[in-house]
């Protein structure tokens, strides 16, 4: 986990426009947001408000057309493709509604895979994967294949995969979408615990009871943050510590 004092994720006046001229779609319009290590921030908003674009930009899956995105103090626009890929592999983890676990691999192998692809020695990767499964409280399921796991267990494995190794930022897009409410709550509890242990989390959800597990909830409408719960520090004040 990060030992620095800057935010795990900082969006500063981020814009994302698709197309140009009169038909341009402004998906994000000047969004500023900071997520500290140990903090879980939820993003809510109606369909088309820019939630998924925000997550994609935060996860370096999409580039902003204006403003700055800093992850662990590093400005993404200053990184080359290889550096960006490395940052994405080593610092960030993604949890999506569709679990994307590979059916032919066990839970342990699924969790270990990102590290193995990153060149980590097999023994080290598997040990880290076991530790990650332990953290999400399913160590006994390490040798099971996804089809042998319940939906909630699969999603816990997906969270373990998102956090395996030293990755310190989890980006989750409707991670409980396909689960019943009790199982969904257990998954949120797991995500919450990872943040309590020091990870930073950004959670996109339309379920208020799931967003309620966050430290802070921001509301997005038409690409603009229209309101927020809590008293988070402003990006301006945080920027002073970063640059």
């Amino acid at each position: 986990m990060s030992t620095t004092t800057h935010p795990a994720l900082l969006l500063d006046g981020v814009e994302r426009t698709h197309g140009t001229g009169p038909t341009a779609v402004h998906a994000l319009r000047g969004v500023s947001l900071a997520v500290e290590p140990g903090e879980l921030v939820a993003v809510m908003g109606p369909s088309g408000s820019g939630k998924s674009t925000l997550l994609n930009v935060a996860g370096a899956l999409d580039a902003p057309t204006g403003g700055r995105v800093l992850i662990d103090g590093q400005e993404l626009s200053a990184l080359g493709r290889k550096q960006l890929d490395r940052l994405r592999r080593r610092t960030m983890g993604f949890v999506f509604q569709d679990l994307n676990l590979i059916p032919s691999l066990t839970a342990l192998e699924n969790v270990s895979l990102p590290l193995e692809l990153d060149g980590v020695a097999l023994r080290t990767a598997r040990a880290a994967a076991r530790a990650a499964l332990d953290k999400v409280r399913i160590p006994e399921l390490a040798d099971r294949f996804p089809e042998q796991l319940s939906g909630g267990q699969q999603q816990r494995a997906a969270i373990a995969r998102a956090l395996v190794g030293d990755r310190s930022l989890v980006l989750a897009d409707e991670p409980t979408g396909a689960l019943d409410s009790t199982t969904g709550e257990a998954v949120l509890r797991t995500l919450r615990q990872q943040c309590d242990d020091g990870a930073a989390g950004l959670l996109v959800t339309h379920e208020s009871r799931h967003a309620a597990w966050a430290d802070r909830v921001i509301f997005l409408r038409d690409g603009v943050v229209v309101d927020s719960t809590g008293d988070a520090a402003t990006p301006e004040s945080l920027l002073d510590r970063v640059v």
């Binding site: 208020s208 309620a212 229209v226």
Partner: protein
């Protein structure tokens, strides 16, 4: 809230005096609906007058009188368990009233009212969830009360989303027109009045 029936339910466990009843009630509901001891004694007096409770022996050293259920009190309690909580007295919902007025008056920023409320309710829901995180599963009564409040907040936020979506679809002239229509067809508003105006 039925203080009367709550006290009868607590006395089902055995004789108790007022302060004990108050403490038990608040412990089991997590202090969500605080009672003052005056309310408890006033209610006990009425229950005694109606023959549903009776003094259980002489006052203790501190002059406190314990009460116990009578047979009539036990029957009243059994009846309370067996019938659903009434819906005929729909409580006034200030938020619904506020938005109903807001959508029919010119110059009111309904979207802002909705968002302000949503943020406040979301903050409350988050705080409830924090409380829930501290629950260890050993106090079922308190957790059920907490979850009831969670569901209520969640329902309110869903309704606010619905209001916002309805307003987004609305033709600007429609709000006023719909108000006029309700006034003009008072006869057809009978069911609505029966539900909301008792």
């Amino acid at each position: 809230m039925s203080i009367k029936h709550s006290l009868l339910a607590l006395l089902h466990e055995g004789p108790m005096y007022g302060a004990q009843l108050r403490g038990e009630f608040e412990a089991r509901t997590g202090g969500t609906w605080p009672l003052n001891v005056g309310q408890v004694y006033t209610t006990l007096s009425r229950l005694e007058r109606d023959g549903l409770v009776a003094g259980a022996g002489a006052p203790d050293d501190e002059g406190r009188i314990a009460y116990e259920l009578t047979d009539a009190g036990r029957a009243e309690l059994d009846a309370w368990w067996s019938v659903p909580v009434g819906r005929e007295q729909t409580p006034r919902n200030e938020l619904a009233i506020k938005l109903a007025l807001a959508v029919t008056l010119p110059g009111v920023d309904v979207q802002q009212i909705v968002q302000t409320q949503r943020t406040a309710t979301m903050t409350h829901l988050r705080d409830l969830t924090r409380l829930k995180r501290t629950a260890d599963g050993e106090d079922l009564a308190w957790e059920l009360v907490l979850e009831s409040l969670v569901f209520a907040d969640e329902a309110e936020i869903r309704w606010l989303d619905h209001v916002e979506a309805r307003i987004a679809r609305l033709d600007p002239s429609q709000a006023k027109a719909s108000r006029t229509a309700h006034v003009a067809s008072a006869g057809s508003a009978g069911v609505r009045e029966a539900v909301t105006r008792r």
